[in-house]
Subunit: 326 residues, 2 copies
């Protein structure tokens, strides 16, 4: 019986997972990325982590059918190269070739948002659909489009940069150089930033109290929604604003693509129905020709394993041997 | 030798064209739509116009292989039905069945923006490309996406509503009920509206003079660009603003789809390089990861015949008998 390995090459951490032939994640381990190092060192550590999870499961390289690596940035998934990355020193790095210096197995490389879209399509909330849109909301907003069972790349793999869609002309400055990009309003980072702002402005508020007591001082995307539920009016208003911004950008994308199903993934998916219910109400107003059709909106089912599961499935997905992963 | 008929069912006019087997438009005629009538009357007149253009070319129904109808609105191109239309009384109208009451030939029905995209793909500026995006800028902003040689529909044919993408949160009110939609800033109507506004504000300006003398009092999308060229500073600033709004929305769509080529069609394409050159300069700044790739930007080649040519080609396009139209 053969297994596959999925890697999340993240800005903070590298996560490696082992999938069995049913797509079940049977082992997972994490090391820090220390992103400012040379890419060779990062890949060496990544391959060390692969050896570790294999050994922890009493497996050897010969038991592995595929290795898949999910990375941020623009990724040439045909040749296994990370072309461009604004958050790490991975520019024009031949990840496939580098990993194959350590392991003589097929290696696949894909953008992390596309990995999540593939995982949800093959095993999660988009299972059984032909055309799905997965929006991954974390530090920024990325994701993937599945059309007729294939990942959509665009010219030179440069499409699906959903976060860099201006929704507020002349609005908040974005890292990409434009103003008013969606991710400056609707990313998890934007929500956490707003939370911190409110805590600073209102240090005696319910929100500030929740933040200091309940979260071990760790402010997350959930904090402000908890405060809103507990009766903090300022937090409630900020949550409503957040959902409104989220809906504005999502309605834009739906008006262009009109997929069968929209999956909301990434850290923000922890919000669950606190986000989905008010969001869908707004989308019902905002989507063009809503009398006829709106897609189904769902939270991702893969939790924080979306990238590693999708990455581990890349080989089977690209070979279209989905019924015969191993 | 067989021919095909293309119809533009417009809000103001119905245009019928005859295409020969090389896709050459050999005859064209126009009647007013009088859009507030019952759809049966409009279709009766449309079929009368088809008979007229046939007769003017000494052709009979037996010489016709296909009839194609391009309509505004959401169009079920499988069953030949206009599902929803905000500008005419064509809601759930079985156009194919209605036209076949008059002509016993295969009838195809398609959204007008998709017709233009198909015409440019088969015979115009997108010829030879796999993935193209055609943006049709007129009263509103529509268009079509060609992926791997097929038109992209989206769920229930509801995709590619490019104009209803909010670029200015809480901005100008749109007919769709949202605020800040792209077409309120970058459509030909928006540009003409701004032109009229400036003429009213500055009745002694170069712009006002050009509008009253050179255009037979007919203000078009060209008027303000002519005034800018002639040295009207206010007109120049308005043109720059217009191109900026145009670029903002187009960069959004390119960041999502990253097509090989973007075709700008509709009345606005008459602006030619006055629009394309400054637009491409802005897009080079605004497109994400522009160091790696930006699509090619071109003006449509079909002029105002895009809808009828695309409509006439629908049968061959859908049958994939492109080398054997007749």
């Amino acid at each position: 019986m053969k297994y596959s390995i999925g890697i999340e090459l993240g800005v903070k951490n590298i996560v490696a997972g082992v999938l069995d032939k049913n797509g079940k994640l049977i082992r997972r381990d994490t090391i820090p990325t220390n992103k400012d190092r040379a890419f060779e060192e990062i890949i060496k550590d990544m391959c060390g982590l692969i050896s570790k999870v294999l050994s922890d499961e009493d497996l050897e390289v010969k038991n592995i059918k595929y290795i898949g690596v999910g990375c941020p940035g623009i990724t040439d998934n045909l040749n296994g190269i990370v072309l461009k990355n604004y958050t790490m020193n991975f520019n024009n790095v031949k990840v496939r070739a580098e990993v194959q210096k350590y392991f003589n197995v097929p290696v696949y490389v894909e953008n992390d948002g596309n990995c999540v879209a593939i995982a949800e399509y093959l095993l999660g909330a988009a299972y059984g659909t032909g055309n799905s849109l997965t929006i991954k909301v974390g530090v920024g907003i990325g994701g993937g489009i599945i059309l007729d069972g294939c990942i959509y790349n665009g010219l030179n793999f440069g499409g699906t940069e959903f976060g860099h869609m201006v929704i507020d002309f002349d609005g908040r400055p974005c890292t990409c150089g434009r103003k008013g990009c969606w991710e400056q309003y609707a990313s998890a980072s934007a929500l956490i930033g707003r939370t911190k702002q409110l805590i600073e402005e209102y240090p005696d508020s319910i929100l500030a109290n929740i933040a200091s007591n309940c979260c071990n001082n760790q402010i997350t995307e959930l904090t402000i929604f908890e405060a809103a539920k507990a009766g903090d009016d300022k937090a409630k208003k900020a949550c409503q604003e957040y959902v409104l911004y989220f809906a504005e950008g999502l309605a834009n994308i739906v008006n262009i693509l009109m997929p069968e199903v929209v999956i909301i993934a990434g850290p923000i998916s922890k919000l669950g129905n606190s986000l989905v219910y008010p969001l869908v109400d707004l989308l019902r107003e905002k989507i063009y020709c809503k009398e006829l059709h709106i897609p189904e909106f769902k939270m991702a089912e893969m939790g924080n394993a979306g990238i590693i599961v999708g990455a581990a499935m890349l080989g089977a997905f690209k070979d279209e041997k989905l019924t015969d992963l191993i």
